[in-house]
Amino acid sequence: MSDNIIGAAPKRIDGRLKVSGAAPYAADHLPEGTAFGYGVFSTIASGEITRLSLDEARRSPGVIDIFHHDNFPDLHRSPASFAEGNMVEETRLPFEDNRIYYAGQFVALVVADTFENARAAAYKVKVEYSESEAIANLDQGVAAHGTEAGSSEHSRGDPASAFDGAAQRIDVTYTTPVETHNPMEMHASVAQWHDGQLIIYESSQGVVMQKGALSKIFGLTPDRIRVESPFIGSGFGSKLWMWPHAVAASAASREIARPVQLVVPRAQMFTTTGHRPETRQRLRLATDGNGRLVSLRHDSINTTSFTDRYVETCGSVTKSLYHCDNLSISHATTRVNRGTPTSMRAPGAAPGLFALESAIDEMALKAGVDPLAFRLNNYAERDESLDLDFSSNHIVEATRRAAERFGWQDRNPEPGSMRDGNEIVGYGMAACNWEALKFGCEARVSLRADGSAYVTCATQDIGTGTYTIVAQAVSDVTGLPLERITVRLGDTSYPEGPLSGGSWATATTLPAVAEATRNAIDQLKSYAVSSRGRFSGVDAGELGFENAQLVHNGERIDYVDILSAQRLASADGRAKTSGADNEYSYRSFGAHFVEVRWDPGISRLRVSRVVSAIDVGQVINEMTARNQVEGAIVMGLGMAHFEATEYDHRDGRPVNNDYAEYVVPVHADQPELDVILLDYPDYQFNEFGARGIGEIGTTGLAAAVANAVYHATGKRVRDLPIHKEKLMDDIPEARSA
């Protein structure tokens, strides 16, 4: 392999299409005769529909049909199995019955000739409800019906007695609110049927999974379904699995025998397409006299819906990041009247490491040890939860390098001691961590007579740069320049590729693409040595391939000439690679160092500087990789001090479900970002040595901010987000409600 293209920083090969508006997103596909859907959404969080008045809506201009629980076609539920490839998070079908489980649930779907007519008519649908008392949040859920014990538990040693007998102990509880993904591109489906075959354009992070789920729901063999998602305006996890709108659009299209476009409005992106659930996490830590952890317990509860059970595995990282002989983690859930939660960038680890890495800071202080030294003293050397070595772990180096770049040694440990004009400066740090995953993958590569290579794989590029790194992999094997490589993704008619999620798309896809490329070269060689070939009579095994040429004893022939000499269109290769083995614990590591500035005179908190060192194995593309980490850090800032989906505690309805009141960081909030990519290839994991980079940057960041806030203000905020009122003094008691 040539080593220059892997690790280089070529620009996105689809960049021009995107910035020029030529890239077609799901809702841009408008086949001839497309009708437009608009939902009617529940305005109560719990209860039943007692009456639907449709007359006025039916008379509204352009209306074709209105679907609801009394006339929606009978469909089947998906078994919702990840292993079977038909996972959905919300198993209840839209319009299954008249029951309401959450505000913002589909209660009807209007289909009309234009988007505007559909929306106007949707506003004329009158729904009457019989409302039940809603369970509006985690506290109410636990009070009303307790919790259900979770999954993914782990324990070792005897944490309770180790805790009781320890020199220093903390027992603290952290909470995180609901967060909502809010990708730029709305969820959207355009569904059409041809001769009993369903073709659907979807903004999807997993076309193969959606095909599997649709085939179960509509009772069709998979070959009757095609899902296409060529471009995605990001998903952050909300587009991993299909949501009710896609089922609604597909069924409506079949009923009215026209293509149907259905875009989920922004307000309902907060209700019916998943969210990161609310969590409450209890952390109990204890150290011996030398500041070594002797007991660690992490018990979390998260909210889930009444229709499905989603577990936020907050303790997933806790079990292996630090050395500790006595440890347990547990996950429980409680049901509330919200839509079903789902994975949001770094699920489990993002809220989990907020709690763990805040607690580590608290523990270090209690033990009288610098938080940096405490971590270096306690990091695990092997994965004690799996009893395996790490395939590659450079967390100590990452932590030291980031600390040095950041200037941690200048930190005066006394809270509030570092002033700069009106501002008090605080330094905080946290470790970050994410599991490295890899699944089976197929890919196909053609070396074509026109001198190009053509690659297909049914994975997706969700904006992360997958198109570009797939081309890099082919370039690496063939020597072809990127301009001559065409990559096609996001279509179930291509060989089966992975979900774009879990930071596994790179590690999963590239080995299959490389293998398929080598197989295409082998086919080319077999053509070349055949009786009519240019290397007729030569043993194929003696042929080399370099820079798009076949080589034998100093003779070099361009592969184009090999093919054209025989009037062949292409040499093709397919490959099917397998998932990760169980020989090692495969994880990525890193550390964040954060500087915050608190101006007590105007109660302004800002994050002014972040230095992060990340150890993710081989970096495939310097630019897109850095971009992923920087974006993840900014998302972590959102989690730390801005984002929370708020629900009215009286009736469970969301109240800030729009893009003005749900506060995410804007450009003006971006601090100085300094990302160090360690770049140690992990060849135990795959031939490229790459572990994937999409999520790790979000983990730990909120804790690093909270720890820095403590250092600046002396206030330990254990409930996200760190809003200014949590840091202000002299707030009067509310006199009214």
Partner: protein, 327 residues
């Protein structure tokens, strides 16, 4: 959004006449409030009268030194006008702190004066809301009221804050709203234009039926003064004020000769703090007098379930702004 009649007027008279014809008519300026709420089905005009071609897009200095701003002058044009930046820095800064570049390019002066509240219970179209559905109650009281609800000028019927930044600067500067209606033209003092919710939150301003704002005329600048707008919020841009202050202050030999203070984010209308101003005049420019003014500015504030922090935050907005301007 529901279908409505659309007409474009080429003179104020025509605009008023077609507004009068429509049962539920709305003037359309930049549309950033109106079309947003129409799409949410919260405003349901049966007629929309486009006033963008009335030629009311000039900024003129009058003979008496006042500045007359056409109703259709965009927020961007007003903020970047040289006279405004020089003589009314507080107004330029307030405008620039609002919304985003794209919104400011569309938003107009009159539209900004007339913008509606951001209360989520108003905007959701279904909650109890006396402003949208008189007599239905106020869901914000006892509900989610952290960021876009007021502590000053509230009533048991409505606690929504007035969201404008521009209007806070205008309240401090002093201004007149020039309107034309079926019965001719009249002037309304800016401070009388926005109404407190009282027991009729649906009535938000002093316009009579079909009246059109043609201009906003700013009082002449205060000689020898400095002015500035300080907006406090969660993120650094693109968010309504949690608390803000517009301050104009003239200091001579360390003593405050004149001061104007208005608050945003905390009041149900752009909130002029006259007692606070009075307390400053003749006082030395310094921490103690600023603190006292801040206390007076927030006098009578009523904290609600989640927004009590706005009381100290509002005070901080006053003190820091005064401190910076007199440094």
């Amino acid at each position: 959004m529901r279908a409505f009649d659309y007409s474009r007027a080429d003179s104020a008279e025509r605009a008023i006449a077609s507004h009068r014809d429509g049962a539920q008519a709305s003037y359309l300026a930049g549309g950033t409030t109106l079309l947003d709420l129409v799409k949410l089905d919260v405003m349901q005009p049966s007629r929309v009268v486009d006033i963008n071609r009335l030629g009311l897009d000039r900024i003129e200095t009058l003979d008496d030194g006042r500045v007359r701003i056409g109703a259709l002058v965009t927020n961007t044009a007003l903020a970047s006008d040289e006279r405004i930046k020089r003589d009314y820095a507080v107004l330029s800064e307030a405008l620039m702190s609002g919304a985003t570049t794209q919104l400011r390019n569309k938003a107009t002066t009159a539209g900004n004066v007339m913008q509606r509240v951001r209360c989520p219970y108003f905007r959701d179209g279904v909650s109890a809301c006396n402003k949208r559905e008189p007599g239905s109650g106020c869901a914000a009281i006892g509900g989610f009221n952290r960021s876009v609800h007021a502590v000053l000028g509230t009533s048991e019927h409505c606690i929504a804050m007035h969201p404008s930044d521009m209007c806070v600067a205008m309240a401090a500067i002093g201004a007149t709203v020039n309107v034309e209606g079926p019965n001719g033209s009249r002037d309304i003092d800016f401070l009388d234009f926005h109404l407190l919710p009282g027991d009729d939150p649906a009535r938000e301003h002093a316009l009579e039926a079909d009246e059109l704002i043609t201009h906003v005329t700013l009082d002449a600048p205060i000689g020898g003064s400095r002015s500035g707008y300080l907006k406090l919020r969660d993120r650094a841009s693109y968010q309504f004020a949690l608390a803000s202050s517009a301050v104009i202050v003239a200091v001579e030999g360390g003593t405050i000769r004149d001061a104007r203070i208005a608050l945003g984010g905390v009041g149900t209308k752009p909130w002029r703090a006259r007692e606070a101003e009075q307390s400053l005049i003749g006082q030395p420019a310094g921490e103690r007098s600023f603190q006292r003014a801040a206390e007076l500015a927030l006098q009578g504030a009523v904290p609600y379930r989640q927004n009590a922090y706005k009381i100290p935050l509002g005070k901080q907005a006053v003190v820091r702004n005064l401190t910076t301007l007199t440094a």
